[in-house]
């Protein structure tokens, strides 16, 4: 008979956390109360029997079944499902960024670049944007059913576009990573921030950027995309984007969110799998070692350049994956989506939940998506109703996140559900600081050579 954990900390955490989760999901997210209660019980079991492997596995399977059933317990077009799909999509982003920032400790403030490139990939290969593509401009399609297949433009299957986005973003991630290799900490943040901005600018001005201008490649690319094809549609945006479409099933509809939910769930499961596997692997250990002490890591045989670039590439790939999904869900690729604010939004999820903590990042994504897509729009009506104030809260959303982050730093700097390591780092800051501090002078003159 397996015995539950009964230490005070676990019990206290469960007593506070589980009711909070039930209240959050059922009252704020409008999940059905029954599903919320089941989730609460499952999480309670997960926490209490964390040391027992068979029970943990059983609970995990139960949570998975619960998640698969979840959309069926709600209206196919309910507000809850709308939020739930966004939570899943943003979780993919946040878990990707978690690899770069949480695991490898490379503070990336330009994550929006990968959202942009992923969404743009969808714009290129899943829409009528390149209306001259294909023989005689009749369009090109692959594993896509009507009506998209018979329209002009390039229409590839969602899975293929996701793979393309992964390749494009991983490459871009490494290219962006390259100039940061000699840098540390804050300086990495500045360079990545600049790259995020640059990509945003390029997308905005992409309607002036013609493939024929690209040296060497220009001709062949135009042969594929059609004469006079542009890099992007600029401020106009590319719309509509094909709905996700798998052979054998009819294309997804914007009014039935269930298939969207299941697709996003699969994406999240893939990212979760990769996150868990990487955490306890040669590469994951190398990332953490790098984060803890770069000089020591290099001296222990960890190649800095390769290891860092792999972190950038992996994180970026997931950003691109989520980008394709969001582009199809939102039905548009609009340059105005690719703002610096987006990077902060995702970073805030990671920090709020707990850097490096997979479960924490999921919670962070849920909370922030709720605030951004439900709380603020809902609350927006109130000042007007109550005080006749013309106040747009969404203008203040940055301030709200800023406030949240400051409060977190004061109250719980390690995040809502910290990773075991980070918790320790925060709690015994003096100790860790000591090792780093004494090594300081040596660190400064370390010639990190690429």
């Amino acid at each position: 008979m397996p015995t539950p954990k009964t230490d005070q900390k676990t019990l206290l955490g469960a007593a506070v956390g589980v009711p909070l989760i039930i209240i959050f999901t059922s009252q704020l997210l409008d999940m059905s109360l029954g599903m919320a209660l089941i989730l609460g019980v499952l999480i309670l079991l997960r926490v209490l029997f964390a040391d027992n492997r068979p029970i943990t596995i059983a609970v995990m399977i139960a949570i998975l079944l619960w998640a698969i059933y979840l959309p069926l317990a709600h209206e196919e077009n309910s507000e809850f499902l709308g939020i739930a799909v966004l939570i899943l999509a943003y979780s993919v982003m946040a878990l990707g960024l978690n690899i770069i920032v949480g695991y490898a400790g490379l503070l990336d403030l330009g994550y929006v670049a990968f959202f942009a490139l992923g969404a743009l990939t969808a714009g290129w290969f899943m829409s009528g944007f390149y209306s001259d593509a294909g023989k005689g401009g009749e369009g090109f399609s692959f594993l896509v059913s009507d009506p998209a297949a018979s329209l002009p433009g390039i229409h590839l299957n969602f899975v293929i576009v996701v793979i393309l986005a992964i390749i494009i973003c991983a490459t871009a991630g490494m290219l962006i990573g390259l100039p940061t290799l000699r840098l540390r900490g804050d300086y990495i943040a500045i360079v990545t921030l600049a790259f995020g901005e640059i990509i945003g600018r390029i997308v905005i001005n992409g309607d002036e950027l013609h493939y024929k201008d690209v040296p060497l490649l220009g001709g062949p690319i135009e042969d594929v995309f059609g004469k006079g094809a542009n890099f992007s549609a600029g401020r106009q945006g590319i719309t509509p984007i094909d709905k996700i479409d798998f052979p054998g099933i009819e294309p997804f509809k914007s009014l039935d969110l269930r298939p969207w939910f299941w697709t996003a769930l699969v994406l999240v499961l893939i990212v979760l799998f990769v996150n868990y596997r990487l955490r306890d692997s040669r590469l994951g250990r190398a990332w953490i070692a790098l984060r803890e002490d770069e000089v020591a890591a290099a001296s222990m045989g960890v190649p800095l350049v390769k290891t860092k670039l792999l972190a950038y590439a992996t994180g970026a790939a997931f950003g691109g994956m989520a980008g394709v999904f969001l582009a199809s869900l939102l039905n548009t690729v609009n340059a105005d989506q690719f703002q610096f604010f987006f990077s902060i939004f995702i970073l805030a999820m990671v920090i709020l939940g707990g850097l490096g903590s997979i479960e924490g990042v999921l919670i962070g994504a849920a909370v922030l998506v709720y605030i951004n897509f439900k709380f603020i729009p809902d609350a927006n009506a109130k000042p007007r109703e109550w005080f006749n104030l013309d106040l747009d809260l969404s203008e203040l959303s940055s301030a709200i996140y800023g406030f949240l982050l400051v409060m977190m730093m004061i109250l719980r700097p390690e995040g809502l559900l910290p990773e075991r390591r980070r918790k320790l780092e925060m709690a015994e800051h003096v100790g860790v600081g000591d090792t780093a501090g004494v090594g300081g002078p040596e660190t400064d003159v370390f010639e990190a050579r690429a």
Binding site: V274, R285, E292, A297, M300, P303, E425, R449
Partner: protein, 292 residues
């Protein structure tokens, strides 16, 4: 003190004169801006020997060390390891070739367990890449098992019992952290082990144990060891050859006996102490705290 000049003048014949040096440097120089930290040091570590570098604070010992391990690139000169030129090579490559080190101020991966620390030490001996890490085929599983087992063996070898293996390294006692650092270095199966002040902060009993341990390493594993050390007791007992640096230049080298009695060394390093204390012991030098 009649034996002063027995061994010839300032330096005994180079220890590795027979040509079998595991590591050798030729005219290695490091200049930081206007500061010449290490100047023209030519030196050898004979295979299977314990060699020490000593010198007053700021003599350039750690800088020299960092050039051997690739953390610094020598401004001039050449470093050869096991017959191959490693001058200015990348730290991880040099590590992979068989040079492992510890640090003067312990530099463990603080929030990783003792076991994980040692597993990182084997990074260069593993093959798993990104996709292997994600998909974890049987080959990768076997490698993980092998590396874990090896890590446990190394931890036991340096005297860390099994109940400490899963402790966060930062929670270990100071002595255990020192031991862990050595285990981490050993796990990569180096040919040459560089120890940067391994006894700093240890009591005489622990230092004595470490001296024994270094001998064991040399005898059981055929390791060559290069030691930077301030504790003269340890240096004299452990090392077979000693090189003395002062102001970045080599002022003497030879057997402990010869170096101890070398007038230039006494003047540069032990001078004051020797004058004051005619028993000829030079323990006091070990009390200095190095901060370079």
């Amino acid at each position: 003190m009649s034996a002063v000049d027995d061994s010839g003048q300032t330096s005994a014949p180079p220890p590795g004169a027979d040509g079998d040096a595991i590591l050798s440097t030729t005219n290695v120089t490091k200049i930081f801006g206007g500061l010449v930290a290490v100047e023209d040091v030519t030196f050898e570590i004979p295979r299977g020997r314990i060699v020490s570098i000593i010198g007053p604070n700021g003599a350039g010992k750690t800088t020299f060390f960092n050039m051997l391990t690739g953390l610094y690139k020598p401004t001039f000169g050449r470093v050869e390891f096991d017959g191959r030129d490693i001058t200015g090579g990348r730290p991880d490559r040099i590590m992979a070739m068989g040079v492992a080190r510890t640090f003067q101020n312990i530099r463990l991966f603080a929030t990783m367990s003792a076991l994980e620390n040692v597993m990182v030490g084997q990074h260069a001996r593993m093959k798993t890449g990104l996709f292997g890490s994600i998909l974890r085929p049987p080959r990768v599983r076997r490698e993980e098992e092998r590396v874990t087992e090896k890590a446990r063996e190394e931890l036991r070898y340096v005297g860390l019992e099994d109940d400490l293996h899963d402790q966060m390294s930062i929670n270990l006692s100071y002595g255990d952290q020192r031991r862990l650092e050595i285990a981490r270095a050993l796990s990569s199966e180096p040919k040459l082990l560089l120890l940067d002040e391994p006894t700093a902060g240890m009591n005489p009993q622990e230092s004595k144990e470490l001296t024994e341990f270094m001998r064991r390493l040399r005898d059981e594993r055929g390791l060559s060891i290069l030691l930077i050390e301030h504790d003269m007791q340890v240096v004299m007992e452990a090392s077979e050859y000693i090189t003395v640096l002062d102001h970045g230049t080599k002022i003497a080298e030879g057997t402990p006996q010869a170096v101890r009695q070398n007038p230039r060394v006494i003047e540069a390093y032990l001078g004051k102490q020797a004058e004051r204390d005619h028993t000829g012991r030079d323990r006091a030098a070990g009390d200095e705290a190095e901060s370079d």
